[in-house]
Amino acid sequence: MVRLTPATEPPYRALVESGAGLICTHDLAGILLSVNPAAAERLGYAAEELVGRSLRDFLAPAVREQFPRYLERIAAAPADEGLMMVVTRGGEERVWTYSNVRCQDGGGPPYVLGHAHDITDIKRSDARAGAAEALRSVAQLALATAHEINNPLTVIIASLQLMAARGQVPPAAAGTVDKAIRAGEQIRDIVRNMSRITRLELSRQSPALPPLLDLRRSSDPQG
């Protein structure tokens, strides 16, 4: 597949046969002509099982319909690169980044030399980091909101208590004031629970989570 001079052939062959890079060749119809052991192993096959089959068969079902467009591109241009989602023999979908070039040796038919890297773990790590960052932002927003609620809530609860303690609440309104204080205390408890949960999320401490907010109960006027 590649013209090698005798002096350089052993190192190049070792690079393909023993290297970690994922290398293959396929014809312009996408039929695999050769696959190096690293690529075959990553897909869960022996190299011999892959040769003669279409590269399309090893793409994830969701992206297979894009394969003809790839073939059109690589037939029209000398090179193509991008991401491909492959599926292993065990059914796991993995993301490879590829950089393929169209070759032609002497008067032989053109073929494609493909070189790929499996970046699945990097992508997953990035996704986890993104999710963690999003969670952190939400948690910080929740804490800031709790803080903003607590100041006016302090004024509401303590002012009502102060009025009651001073005897400034008419007897007919005493029950209403008492209900208002209890409603304020319910808000306080909800905010404290929310803050406790978000602080735990921020510190990534999963054990000993406090009871989850019971929104149904807290919105119940009898609660």
Partner: protein, 112 residues
Amino acid sequence: MNVRELEAEILREEWDHVDTAVDGTDALRLLAEHVYDAIVSDLAMPKLDGRGLYEEVGRRWPTANRRLVFVTGYAEAEEYDEFLRHSGVPVLAKPFTIADLIGAVKTAFSPA
């Protein structure tokens, strides 16, 4: 009415002399002029925060910072966790009740 004004109003129900300061620097000015039985302070304040106030009060009047009580919203408490554990200053979480505030101040009168 803000929380500071409310705190003062509640404390005046129990004690005759209550002054308010807008931030830590203002509090230091008052502390230089009067002797107080208790100091109620927010943790998060402009110019000089509660931690700065604790350290400065301790530097100028070595035992006076034992009469401090911090009032805090939940959000900033984490930032001050280590300091609060180390200093042992009692912390009152907002929103508090009248009884909570008066009880905390009475504790500051007779620090452990």
